[in-house]
Symmetry: C2
Subunit: 276 residues, 2 copies
């Protein structure tokens, strides 16, 4: 008699390397204290949100990550949009250029950690006066340039479909898959996030199945963006479908630090580890 | 042997009496054509979104509604915020006064139809520089004044908890119930909307149970704000809990007209009528 066992999930959680406004970055503040806490809770890795690699002492960061025996599955880049307004689809060509160069500057960082580079809000929105097809053309060209630059390092980029209230560009997995066709780079895929999927996907499990090998990274937050278990998403079913689709990557917590970062991180980990 | 039968659901759908930007008003445009279509689809009533009663020929409206044998369970007022910026919580006292007078001007309209007056986005948001407790004080005082004015007509007001992306004031049923305590008027209650609840309520059915007799009106849209059946909400369970809580009111469709208003309205009606 044989039983198929799913490998143990690799769990990570988002940590911002500097102060940030984004409310769903669970951990912010003192870097070493946070890394120590995340490791002691039992996480396998930490997803680093980095606004600008120039502002981070990468040697110190790397040594601290190794000291606490953590991995870095992915690097979040959205703060460059939230704090500086950089985007791939701004009508100002110098802002678009700066956004592309910023993403390219993450490639050596990603290379240190063998991490995926996340394309979240830095893709931008369709600004007033900009034609939607023009914005898409800018987005595709920017992604192609960044993927070309990342390829020699073996680095992959993952775009996150984000719900309608936060962007007007790529809200759901269907639009994400069309974008993958247009970009046409083997190192370009998707980051799926359960909070956004709860709003945008008709049936979350079916969307996961359709995306299949294009899923490069996976975020968990419950329906209310609190830690998994605090809302009404069926994570057992969602994660079963994710791993049945052949996913070999990480399950990374990006949720609001309620009641506080440590409690939320602990609750999430306990809840997810209990799932079959 | 006896079986408890649930009464047949009274179904209505939102119709805007004038052009509006709000994307989830299912029907917009020619009034009589829309009323005729809504009636022929089999709806029992129509929820009227009215920006300003002064802009509407009420006698014509009333005679058309009667001609098509429709009822009007509720009147939506949010366009006064969306199109004119009126709100109960604006720092400008003249804007707050205009918002209160606007809601009072709906009372004779509501009285014609024995309709509930909906307090949606006209409650406003916490604007920059305004203290949250100050905004709540303005909100409570405005609601008390409007409820006092509505009471002699036997008219009730229902505030809709709206998800975090659309307002910073009263996002969930817990906050709604606290507000009911503060307002302290027997003709003030809640309008619950399944689209917003999917984002904000940890467990939708439990929130419905807790609100109980304070639920004055009920909106249905699926998780993606399309017609019920197009997303992943469990409407059988949600509506079972609603009617088990003693709800005697209407189930009103407020969803995005995709693929078009008529198809969405038809799909919703067919789906909801099939539920046990």
């Amino acid at each position: 008699m044989s039983t198929v066992h799913r490998p143990i999930m690799k769990l990570s959680i988002v940590l911002s390397t500097q102060p940030a406004q984004f409310q769903a970055a669970t951990f912010k503040g003192d870097l070493e204290a946070n890394l120590s806490q995340i490791a002691s809770l039992g996480y396998d890795g930490v997803e680093l949100a980095i606004r600008d690699p120039k502002l981070v002492d990468l040697d110190t960061l790397e040594s601290l990550v190794h000291k606490y025996n953590l991995r870095v599955p992915a690097i979040g880049t959205g703060q460059a949009w939230g704090e500086e307004g950089l985007s791939f689809t701004d009508p100002d060509p110098s802002i678009r250029r700066n956004a592309i160069e910023r993403i390219k500057s993450h490639i050596p960082v990603a290379s240190r950690f063998e991490a995926i580079i996340i394309i979240g809000l830095i893709r931008g929105i369709i600004k007033p006066g900009v034609d939607a097809s023009q914005a898409m053309d800018w987005l595709i060209a920017a992604l192609q340039e960044c993927c070309d630059a990342a390829r020699p390092y073996g680095i992959r980029l993952a775009l996150e479909p984000i719900n309608r209230y936060e962007t007007t560009l790529i809200n759901n997995t269907g639009q994400g898959q069309e974008l993958i066709e247009c970009v046409g780079a083997e190192n370009f895929g998707l980051l799926l996030d359960t909070f956004h999927m709860n709003i945008e996907e008709p049936v979350i499990e079916e969307s996961i199945g359709r995306c299949g090998k294009h899923i490069f990274h996976f975020h968990v937050a419950d329906s209310n963006r609190w830690y998994p278990g605090a809302g009404h998403l069926d994570f057992q079913s969602i994660l079963n479908n994710l791993f049945s689709s052949g996913y070999k990557g990480w399950v990374s917590g990006e949720f609001i630090p309620i009641p506080d970062a440590e409690t939320a991180a602990q609750q999430s980990l306990t809840f997810l580890r209990k799932l079959g």
